[in-house]
């Protein structure tokens, strides 16, 4: 059976979302790279791309709202559009985080950055976003569960940074401003992972119709089951 125009339209909205996610993820990586190399030119480009992301986010939301008003979808079509709107919002916020990282650039030296493993942390968080979007594309709950479980790893990395910053601040010759900037960057990456987890949870809703936010120790149990 060939797809009806209404379902083609949903697929088109999905495609736009995936393209936006690629752009957001790339901009985030570029932000980490620009900070590492103190690259002012890249920093400007990152801000420009974020403006494009903002416009794309508004455009996609408008298209989704028009779809809701005109097509009045139900069941998985409704869940798909609602999920696209929510993921769209998460992606825009990840885009903002890239700019926040750039904002910290003047406050932190490359030497200080090297002492923290932000590159690895950023790659892990970026991979979570990639997996969450893959889960959305393939409507795969298993991948979404994996993303949720990975969030704890990023949290551990962030806590490690926090402990290290706390320790270094106790030193009399510490660069407090730089350490606070480093802690902020760690938090931005950790928040990116949180958004990836949120996307994964939206995918679980899309696939099962079940809202799994605020479900007690659901993910604690999930992590334990994966670890054991």
């Amino acid at each position: 059976m060939s797809e009806r125009p209404v379902h083609e339209l949903i697929k088109e909205l999905e495609r736009v979302l995936v393209q936006l996610s690629d752009k957001v993820r790339q901009n985030f990586f570029n932000a980490l790279h620009a900070v590492k190399h103190q690259d002012e030119l890249s920093a400007r480009q990152i801000r420009q791309v974020d403006d494009e992301i903002d416009m794309a986010e508004v455009n996609l939301e408008e298209r989704c709202l028009a779809f809701l008003a005109l097509q009045q979808p139900v069941a998985r079509d409704l869940r798909t559009i609602v999920t696209i709107i929510k993921i769209n919002d998460d992606l825009e916020r990840i885009g903002d985080l890239a700019v926040h990282i750039i904002d910290r650039m003047p406050e932190i030296s490359p030497d200080m950055l090297v002492s923290f493993d932000f590159e690895n942390m950023g790659v892990c968080a970026g991979e979570m976003v990639k997996m969450a979007i893959q889960a959305f594309i393939s409507k795969d709950r298993t991948i979404a569960d994996q993303v949720c479980a990975l969030d704890e790893e990023i949290d551990v990395m962030h806590r490690t940074v926090f402990k290290k910053v706390t320790l270094l601040m106790k030193s009399p010759d510490s660069h407090v401003d730089q350490l606070i900037a480093a802690l902020s960057i760690s938090r931005y990456i950790e928040r990116m992972a949180d958004h990836a987890t949120k996307i994964a949870r939206e995918v679980i809703y899309l696939v099962t119709g079940e809202i799994v936010r605020h479900k007690g120790d659901f993910y604690g149990n999930l992590i334990n089951s994966i670890n054991t």
Binding site: H7, Q72, P73, V74, A75, R79
Partner: protein, 286 residues
């Protein structure tokens, strides 16, 4: 899985046995006082036209004072099922039924069931408004007169009460003696609802009541259904799925005579359990 819905004080604990699993059916909207118990019960209920089984072994509970919509493609048996509740199908010579269909725990097709009394308790409104070519007053009082009420004062009270319930009183109170055929289509349909309410039924069967009406008249009928919800058990057959989702607490999906799925409307339209229901309501049916 037990589901709860916002705004509920309590949830009826009615279970329907379908296949091998139990389905818990909480009301989809605000709880109705005294509602939630099965008013009409079907068990392995089939309707035949000659050899053709139009409704196939349907088992379902229709909850008291809630609105239940029936959706499905043309020829799926939804109207046949609806019409069988007040034995309208008796008019078709080749029609016969098997299984059980109970109204207030009484077998609708029982040997000693009084069809006239049944139809007084189970009123019906049809797709096309069908007022009698009489005055508005006479249309409303037709049923009560048939049931022996002749006192003019009582009849006048019935007319006013029924028209008010049908949200038509304000529009026609000054022309009750005028011919009902002079009303607009939407007014005629509400008059038919008022005529049904005049004999104080417990159940209202609505067979595509708005399919011949414009959006404004449709909205009035839908508002009326919401007004009557809580006072009557209402069943509505509709091809308009947005209408089903707007007005009903529960929805039944029929396909080829089979009750595929029955669930709280909010659940059925956001997360149907059966792939056939999903395909139908999302327009993926081949």
């Amino acid at each position: 899985m037990l589901m709860t819905t916002d705004g509920l004080e309590n949830t009826p604990t009615a279970f329907i046995q379908k296949s091998t699993r139990d389905i818990y059916l909480p009301p989809a909207r605000k709880k109705i006082s005294g509602g939630g118990t099965p008013h009409i019960v079907a068990r392995e209920f089939s309707v035949y036209y000659g050899q053709f089984e139009a409704v196939k072994k349907v088992s379902a509970d229709i909850f008291s004072k809630y609105v239940t919509s029936i959706i499905g493609p043309s020829g799926c048996g939804k109207s046949t099922f609806l019409r069988s509740i007040n034995r309208m199908n008796d008019l078709i010579p080749s029609c016969h039924t098997t299984g059980a269909l109970l109204f207030d725990n009484v077998d609708i097709y029982g040997k000693y069931t009084d069809e006239v009394l049944l139809r007084k308790k189970v009123g019906m409104v049809f797709q096309k408004p069908n007022p009698f070519p009489k005055s508005i007053f006479d249309n409303i009082t037709y049923g009560p007169r048939l049931h022996g009420i002749t006192n003019k004062k009582i009849l006048s009270e019935i007319v006013e009460r029924s028209l008010k319930k049908a949200a038509l009183w304000d529009e026609v109170c000054d022309r009750l003696d005028k011919n009902a055929l002079g009303l607009s289509g939407g007014q005629q349909q509400r008059l038919c609802v008022a005529r049904t309410l005049a004999v104080e039924p417990e159940v209202l069967l609505l067979d595509e009541p708005t399919s011949a009406l414009d959006p404004k008249a449709t909205a009035k009928i839908e508002d009326l259904i919401q007004e009557l919800r809580g006072s009557y058990t209402i069943m509505i057959v509709t091809h308009n799925m947005q209408q089903a989702s707007r007005v009903s607490d529960y929805t039944m999906f029929f396909y080829e005579g089979v009750l595929v799925e029955q669930a709280p409307t909010a659940q059925l339209f956001t997360n149907p359990k059966d792939p056939m229901t999903e395909d139908y309501i999302t327009g993926r049916f081949s």
